[in-house]
């Protein structure tokens, strides 16, 4: 039983890390209706930029600020060069464009910073400690705390800041938002920049776990089952979905992997999310669409 709880907690904490990536997807999808396949590439790019800036002698906080500036610049470019020319195209075209964008971002990142793997040390000791006989990873706890803070900050921002409320209006109804004078392109730039910042946080945590390398892009894909489990349009869904996916993935690996061979965590979340969707086609917290002819 203790082992079970240990695996469960480990899974939940790992799920928080997925939630972090999923958050970036949700923000962009809510505000602009774009399914951003490039989120993984943004995570990698942010982490690469940060690591290299630190390696070139920038102090930690300055490097963070500089990377945030780079991500904001990226958001500007994306809005100007990709989103604006593709306005009013079907969502599928925009999705394809973000795949192209992912390729470009990966290419640029590796061109500037090189394609080798970088280590990243955030200075958090990863010594597991015991609570009532259950071992908990310190690093995972830290990650969970960061994710919690991030969600809190975003929640405050969306509820109290004027820009945040404008973003919620845009997410709710593009045309109504435009008619009361909210400039859509500016909102897109802002939300992509916020996603960039979330990508940086995710990139730092994942990077210090796995090293800053190309594999981060594949990890970021794990955010997709998290998303559809939680529902595309819900921040809370991204968190809950992450927890569920993280926990089931680890439990399945331990208890199911024994019978059908290891390594099933590569595909189990997707199939789990798929089966879940058969029961609830809009995820846990997604908006129910009413379809009309």
């Amino acid at each position: 039983m203790e082992f079970f709880i240990e695996v469960l907690i480990g899974g939940l904490l790992a799920g928080v890390m997925y939630s972090l990536i999923a958050l970036g997807f949700v923000l962009i999808y809510k505000a602009s209706g774009v399914f951003n396949f490039a989120q993984g590439a943004m995570v990698l790019f942010a982490a690469l930029t940060f690591v290299n800036l630190v390696a070139r002698g920038l102090p930690f906080w300055l490097a963070i600020v500089a990377t945030l500036a780079v991500m904001a610049l990226l958001a500007l470019l994306v809005e100007r060069l990709v989103l604006r020319p593709l306005a009013n195209q079907p969502p599928m075209s925009l999705f394809m464009a973000t795949i192209g964008l992912a390729i470009v971002i990966e290419g640029v990142g590796q061109l500037i910073w090189g394609s080798k793997a970088f280590g990243l040390d955030l200075g958090i000791r990863d010594v597991p400690f015991e609570v009532a006989g259950v071992r908990v990873s310190q690093f995972d706890l830290f990650a969970a705390a960061v994710a919690g803070t991030l969600v809190l900050v975003l929640g405050l921002f969306f509820n109290y800041a004027a820009t945040g409320r404008a973003l919620r209006a845009v997410a709710d109804d593009h045309q109504a938002a435009m008619s009361i004078g909210i400039p859509l392109p500016r909102m897109w730039r802002i939300v992509w920049a916020i996603s960039g910042a979330v990508a940086l946080v995710a990139g730092l945590l994942w990077g210090s776990r796995l090293g800053v390398q190309f594999g981060l892009v594949v990890v970021a894909l794990k955010a997709l089952p998290v998303l559809i489990l939680g529902g595309f349009t819900s921040v809370a869904g991204a968190i809950v979905g992450g927890l569920v996916i993280g926990a089931t993935e680890k439990l399945a690996e331990i208890y199911l992997g024994r019978y059908i061979g290891g390594g099933i965590e590569n595909w189990f979340p997707y199939v789990f999310a798929m089966l879940f969707l058969l029961v609830r086609p809009h995820g846990l917290f997604g908006e129910r669409r009413i379809e009309r002819v």
Binding site: F35, L81, V82, P85, L86, Q89, P91, M92, S93, F95, M96, A97, I99, G100, L101, A102, I103, V104, E106, G107, V108, Q110, L111, S115, V218, L221, L224, P225, L227, I228, F232, I260, G261, G263, I264, N266, W267, Y270, V271, A273, M274, L277, L278, P281, E291, R292, V293
Partner: protein
């Protein structure tokens, strides 16, 4: 002046239902077929067959398969490479384990295996669609990759997890030279493309398009949406499966599961989009464009920079140009290369008169 339908009267239903209603189109298509079946085998060399034409044709076939699902039935899939993998490994196992299995029979069975798996994962389209379906197909992609690596039985317990395709012998004729393999692939691809063209003009094809354009409306006029989607999944996976079997047998010979990874799926998706969704011809145009682009860029790159720059830098630049071109194409021509072709034909009809 040269290209117009004036004066070509249709006096029977058969002439009305031709694939190419205009005599100029028929002439052009015949010329293309003669070129592909006669002139190219005589004029081409081994590099052309092995490095260019065979993979191009096979990827075109896979793109065609995806196009049936995504372009005609509107169900986006990120799992086409997985189904290619199923096809390749199924064909290998049928050849290995069934005595006297004819190779073409094993290709068909490979396609059917892929279709079966495709329908299984396609079941999820009963309740989910759009972006949610991406995740389901992504799941099939990762699951198939995992299964092909995990179950050693599939690779006949090969320690490095690869399969080595058996020789292709049809009716006592060994297809062992590049030219012969090219001709085999070409024949299969042409036949399957014609079949697809006709299928998409049939009731099934029209149902697919109705479901794509609006599934609720399709259901209202009495089309079984679920069955249509499942059939699209099956047919599409069948095409991908055959393409995968050809990939193993006629192209690489020795193939590992990683040859059918997510990158390949994305590549095929790009081919379908760049060529033009919902078009048989677009599949070929898109495959040609996506395959030739890196080769052209490589040639141009080394012509400009020579070997002065690190090869990895050139590779990254190619990567970036590739991505930029995709975005650019989506912006300037969202309907793909096939739309440019149609515009060209319209212009040709009016030529030499100004518009």
């Amino acid at each position: 002046m040269l290209y117009r339908e004036a004066g070509q009267y249709k006096t029977a239903y058969a002439t009305d239902q031709r694939i190419f209603p205009i005599v100029q189109d028929r002439a052009a298509f015949s010329a293309l077929m003669i070129a592909a079946f006669v002139i190219v085998p005589i004029a081409g060399n081994d590099y052309w067959f092995n490095g260019l034409l065979i993979p191009l044709l096979i990827l075109s076939l896979a793109t065609l398969g995806l196009n049936i699902l995504t372009g005609y039935a509107g169900q986006i899939s990120l799992g086409s490479a997985g189904f290619m993998g199923v096809g390749a490994f199924a064909a290998y196992n049928f050849m290995l384990r069934v005595d006297g299995m004819p190779i073409l029979g094993s290709f068909v069975l490979a396609g059917l295996c892929a279709a079966l798996i495709g329908v299984l994962f396609g079941l999820s389209c009963h309740r989910i669609k759009d972006f949610y379906l991406i995740v389901a197909t992504l799941g099939s992609q990762f699951f198939i990759e995992w299964a092909l690596t995990k179950f050693a039985w599939l690779t006949d317990y090969n320690p490095s997890g690869v399969i080595t395709a058996q020789k292709i012998v049809i009716l006592g004729v060994a297809f062992d030279t590049p030219v012969r393999r090219y001709l085999l692939v070409l024949t299969i691809v042409v036949l399957m493309a014609l079949a697809a063209k006709n299928m998409m003009r049939s009731a099934f094809g029209r149902n697919c398009m109705a479901v794509r354009d609006m599934d609720v409306a399709a259901a209202v006029i009495g089309i079984s949406v679920f069955r249509t989607k499942l059939m699209a999944f099956g047919v599409s996976s069948f095409y991908c499966g055959v393409a995968g079997a050809l990939w193993a047998y006629a192209y690489v010979g020795t193939v590992e599961p990683q040859a059918f990874d997510l990158d390949r799926s994305l590549q095929i998706l790009f081919m379908a989009i760049i060529g033009g969704l919902g078009s048989i011809m677009g599949s070929f145009l898109g495959a040609a464009f996506v395959m030739l682009l890196p080769i052209v860029m490589n040639v141009v790159g080394s012509a400009i920079f020579g070997h002065a720059i690190d090869a990895s830098v050139v590779a990254h630049v190619e990567h970036i140009v590739y991505g930029v071109l995709i975005i650019w194409l989506l912006i300037v021509e969202p309907h793909g290369l096939v739309r440019l072709w149609q515009i060209g034909k319209e212009k040709l009809r009016l030529w030499p008169f100004p518009r």
